[in-house]
């Protein structure tokens, strides 16, 4: 059964919260910004009226005022944004225990398990959440409903403000593939430029690329983006109190003197492996592989990694694996005077 995931994105969050205290400015172009007396102050958020003047987040106040001389500038109140964020998330919590905040004004909700209690229709749940937030807090949001997190996020961006967009297993190719590739999560300016060199401008064109070629071009991220574009993203929605398990556990030291004899290197590796193994046991993890990095006195890094015969959380096995690796590229320095 396909998952039902919502991505809830508050519309012009900072500006909308400020306007709750200034209802008389509701139709005026308003921006929340840093210190206006400083030429370095930037636009932190803007309302819909300001967007119509082409004002964008992170531009300088000076640039924004050039576009819109009548722009009303308001100082930020971050404690208020945090308070509203808590109140909004408290509403989300009434629909599922799987709420993963992405930022102060965006959250994913996995309602797959509770959907049968909520009427069985993802779009209806999204519409109800929008109506409640509007009624109870006076704020609007856009919601994307889909079968994975990436498409749910695309959905919340698809139509703004105050709208629900469903990207389903049936319609996703029609909706997603024509979109600019930059709309996809984690495709930033650099990735866009790289992809443009290969004529990739839409998500559909990205999906049609060879995954291996993308990986060669952009590393692991290339393969990940290929999966995103083909609707294959499977990341779970993680409840906010659950931290992601570590991907690696490392320990490094600079020693009092250069390590010259093999015995010294072996002892040093044991010390580091002991630290790593202890921490692995503390978090209930096993290592399937080990990596060693050596920085030479002239600041050159040499690194090797290998898969272990079986996963371990023992110092001796990590140290042995590390020593085998180090043996492949470390040579004791020649005796002085040679």
């Amino acid at each position: 059964m396909a998952r039902v995931i919502l991505h809830c994105d508050m519309n012009s969050f900072f500006a909308s919260v400020e306007l709750l205290s200034h209802p008389e400015l509701r139709d005026a172009p308003v921006a929340v910004c840093g210190d206006p007396s400083s030429r370095h102050g930037i636009i932190l958020a803007k309302n819909e009226a300001a967007k119509k003047f082409g004002i964008v987040t992170a531009e300088t106040i000076w640039q924004a005022q050039k576009k819109c001389p009548g722009l009303v500038l308001l100082p930020p109140h971050h404690h208020l944004y945090r308070e509203y964020s808590h109140r909004i998330n408290a509403i989300y919590d009434q629909y599922t225990d799987l709420v993963e905040p992405f930022s102060v004004d965006e959250s994913w909700l996995d309602i797959t398990g509770s959907l049968h209690l909520l009427g069985g229709e993802g779009k209806a749940v999204a519409d109800e959440i929008r109506a409640r937030v509007k009624r109870e807090l006076g704020l609007t949001l856009s919601v994307g409903v889909s079968f994975n997190k990436v498409f749910a996020k695309l959905g919340s961006d698809y139509k703004k403000p105050d709208a629900t967009t469903v990207i389903s297993p049936e319609n996703w190719k029609d909706l997603v593939w024509p979109l600019p590739v930059g709309d996809l999560l984690f495709v930033g300016k650099a990735a866009r430029a790289t992809l443009a060199q290969f004529g990739v401008k839409t998500i559909g064109e990205l999906a049609a690329m060879d995954a291996g070629q993308l990986e060669a071009l952009m590393g692991k991220m290339g393969r990940q983006l290929h999966e995103y574009a083909n609707g294959l993203e499977r990341e779970p929605v993680r409840p906010r109190n659950e931290t992601e398990p570590p991907k690696s556990v490392g320990s490094g030291s600079t020693f009092q003197k250069d390590l010259i004899r093999k015995g010294e290197v072996s002892a040093a590796l044991s010390l580091l492996a002991d630290d790593v193994a202890t921490r692995l046991r503390q978090c209930g993890m096993y290592a399937g592989g080990v990596a060693v990095t050596l920085r030479t006195p002239d600041f050159q890094d040499r690194s090797r990694q290998k898969r272990l015969a079986s996963p371990t959380h023992l110092m001796r096995e990590l140290a042995d694996g590390a020593m085998e690796l180090l043996d492949t590229f470390w040579k004791p320095p020649p005796p002085s005077g040679c």
Partner: protein, 66 residues
């Protein structure tokens, strides 16, 4: 600077092991498990520095990857 990193981490419950019929490292591993588990208990009670394998003393300890 020397760094050791545990990679390809897996949950303990998911840890697999390729059984090698000729491998006789089982008892040795069990002994090492007991030893390191005892060290964990001592460190839990008396602190991290209470017990350690014989090794060099680090001048500067860094943890760049966690």
């Amino acid at each position: 600077m020397l760094t050791v990193t545990a990679i390809a981490l897996t949950d303990s419950a998911e840890a697999y092991e390729q059984v090698d019929l000729l491998d006789d490292s089982g008892p040795k591993r069990e002994k090492q498990e007991k030893l390191e588990s005892a060290m964990d208990r001592i460190r839990g009670k008396y602190g991290m520095g209470a017990v350690r394998f014989g090794a060099l003393s680090p001048e500067k300890k860094e943890d760049p990857l966690s």
